[in-house]
Amino acid sequence: MPPRPLRAGILLSRNPIVTKEPSAFVKAFYHYQDELERRLMWTFPWYFYFKRGTLSQRKFDSLQKGPMPRHKGVYYPEGIPDVKHNRERRSKQVVNLPSQSGDGEGDKIIPQSRTTQADEKKDVRSLERKLDSTLYLVINNKEWRLPSFEVSEEATSLHEAAEAGLRELGGSNINTWTVSSTPAAVIKGEVPEFVIKSHILHGQFTPKDFDFAWLTKEEIKEKVKPEYFSSVEALL
């Protein structure tokens, strides 16, 4: 069967796994808003959480740094204390919670690192790199570009041809979700290439005789030819 006069390309992306790193301004703004909110919070009703006269209440009490009390005839350079319910009403209330283990620091949760081994090794073939940005699959077939496949005369739709081509190229142990059967763009050339958008969900791409890489938009810009990049830039 002769192939049709067009090719089906695939833009396979790995969506971000962690949220984007906020900019310095966003961080500072959130911190400022958080501080304003804490300043305006009601006093913590400890008696709701710790029953009076119990050991846990005593433990909680011992961790609290009480406010400066108000006495008559004393000069307070930073303003007369305004204490109610053991809280200084002019500033935010700091509540120290007791920990289960009893070291007084509270139970700290140590989260997984946002950078992985693949980031340290600069392994562009790993799907575990750059967790906070979208990665796109590019292959080196004479030149670096998005994978694309011939569409045979029997093929009934572009997206099926693209998915079948992807599995033929990189093995069938790959779970993808194709966004739509409509092509997202056409890359014009001798043979026009219709790009189908798809997301990789599980598995990995393991081709036999090609070099490939999972790259971000900025990295693709450095790797591919400028005219090719300008034709796919809007998609990334």
Binding site: A28, H31, Y32, E35, P77, E78
Partner: protein, 362 residues
Amino acid sequence: MKNSIVRAAGLQIRNQRIRDAVLNGVPKTGPPTLRSRWARSRYVSPEGINEAFSLAKEIVDKEAANHKSAAGEVEKELKSATGEEQRAELAKNLEHHLVKSEFHNPEVRFNFMVKDSVDLNEPIYRYLSRTEWAAKEMLILMQRLEQHHVIPDTMPTLDPRAQVDVQFVTPTMSSFEPGSFLSNEVCERRPRISIQEFEPIAKDSLYSVVIVNPDVPDLENDSFKTLLHYAAVNIRISNDAPEVDFAQATELADYLPPHPEKNAPAQRFCVWVFRQPARVEGAEISREGFDIRQFAGANNLEAVGAHMWRVRYDLTTDFIRAKYGLGPGSVYFRARTAKPEEALLHVRHRQKWEKFVETPSK
């Protein structure tokens, strides 16, 4: 690259210590705007405001620089433009970019907040002043003009563009809301008027002021007629000089104090401010039966602002009438009759008046 944007010196905060506090954060000695040392020493800034401010300033300065460069381009275009409409459009665009380039400038906001060194030649201050005026005073003015039927009894309508402020010479020299009742003694002499333009106007642009009273009883027609109380043309106004200098203006009619009649309805005194396209020379007017629409039409005047107050017969009216030789006036019955002339108590009132003029109080 740091966004360093060149600003006019007039837009800066004059007090250097306050300026430092606004731009670099409140110092350890406390905010300089607080008067007492006690208040300064116990003031605490919200946490995190300094870091957020310095980063926010970069964003705001970038935005300002964009508008500044856009304004520069529009200015170049304006120089080469010829068509009248095109020039007006470009001038409007230029004003917009100039306002936006200073819109978030904290120094400008501070100056405007404390009303210090507010230079109305700067587009941003004009914009802020106009916004403040349009949010309250303009609405009150329009409501009063319509409620008291100044529109359309005197002029057909008003597109308010200038803030008109009227002050009578009293110990407090305070302004009053449009439509207020004033005592006859208060409005005895010509008020001080200020005309604040918010659109960019040429220096010493020409304006006219007319004060009319459309509520003089007209017994012959069983109606009311209009009396002109004051008219001046060729008043010079600039954006930064809103006070009317009557000495330099051409007075067509000098100020006639309000002198309402007893038991007649309250009289409206309508102040109309017009923009003049050119100098007005040799305009002829008559006080009695003054037609303000005809006057504005004949001299090509464009109404941009208005003000009003009301008066009733009160304890001071007879003093004013005696002082300025305005005659005894009339007294009306409260009852309605078929013939309005009969409502006059001619004889009794004239007797009282003569007695009053002969023996005035000290």
